[in-house]
Point group: C2
Chain length 123, copies 2
DNA sequence: TTCATAATGATAACTCGTTATCATATTGTC
DNA sequence: GACAATATGATAACGAGTTATCATTATGAA
C-alpha cells in the first residue's frame, strides 16, 4: 500500500504551486526548499507513480526531456521561454488544422509550442 | 577539400526523393538500396556536414530524436503518423497565435505538429 | 511502542542516440 | 598509374536522462 511521506507531499505541493510543466530537476530544486536532502531518485519515482495513478502527465517538447504537470486540465498548449527555459501553460487554441492536412490523412490530435520571452525575461 | 563519394551522393538523393524529414536510420535504410554496406557512421557524418553547410536542417518533434530534411523550404509544419511513425511535411499555417499568449510575453516563433494516420495507414 | 514493510538517498548501472577512433579503401591531383 | 589526403565502416566510447540496487530510515497498523 502506498504511504504518505513528506517527500511525496512536497513534490505534489510544488507541482500545484508552480502550476507549469516542470522537469525532474526543477521539481527537485523546488521541493528541496520544503524537504532538504530530497534525492533525485525519489523525484523520479514519485513522478512515475503520479503518472501511473493518473494525477500527472508528461509534457514533451521538441528536443527536450519530458516535463511533468498535474493532470485534469482542459486542452491547452505551451510557451517555452528561450531565455530562462521555463515552460508555461497557455489558454486558447486555433482548433481547426484540417486545412493543413493532405487528402487521405486523418488528424487525431495536435500540439502547438510557442517560443519567445516570458515576462521576467524581457529585461 | 570535400570529396564527392557514392555514399554522400546516395544520402543526398534519398533526402531529395523521399522529401520528408528522415531519421538517421531511415536515411541509412533507404540509402543502402543505392550503396550496399553503407555504415551508420557515414550517415551521421554526412547529415552533420549537410547541416553545417546549410543544405539540411534538423527537425525536432516532441519526444523524438532529430530527423533531417533539406533546407530552403518555406515556413511549414509536420504531420506524424501514429501508426508507421513517418513524418510528412504540411503546407499552410494558422499564422497568428498572439491571442494565446499572456500579457508581457513576446512570441518569436512557433511549432505545430499534427498526429494521426497517413494515407497508407488508414488500412 | 512495536514491528513488518514501504520509502528514501546515494550512486552504480543502464539505454539510446551520437561521436570518436583507427585500420583500410577511395578519391582526385599530378 | 602513383601518391597524399580524405572518406569509410566497424565498433568502442561517450553523455544525458533515467532506472536499479541496497543499506538505512520512516510509516502506520496493531
Amino acid at each position: 500500500m502506498e504511504r504518505s511521506t513528506r517527500q511525496r507531499q512536497a513534490i505534489r505541493e510544488v507541482m500545484t504551486e508552480l502550476n507549469r510543466p516542470l522537469s525532474p530537476i526543477e521539481v527537485l530544486e523546488a521541493a528541496r526548499a520544503k524537504v532538504p536532502g530530497l534525492g533525485i531518485a525519489t523525484v523520479y519515482r514519485t513522478l512515475k507513480s503520479l503518472v501511473e495513478e493518473g494525477s500527472a502527465v508528461a509534457v514533451e517538447l521538441p528536443g527536450e526531456a519530458p516535463r511533468y504537470e498535474l493532470a485534469g486540465k482542459k486542452h491547452h498548449h505551451h510557451f517555452h521561454c528561450t531565455r530562462c527555459g521555463k515552460v508555461f501553460e497557455l489558454e486558447g487554441c486555433p482548433g481547426d488544422f484540417s486545412f493543413m492536412v493532405p487528402k487521405g490523412f486523418k488528424t487525431e490530435k495536435h500540439e502547438i509550442v510557442l517560443y519567445g520571452r516570458c515576462t521576467d525575461c524581457l529585461h
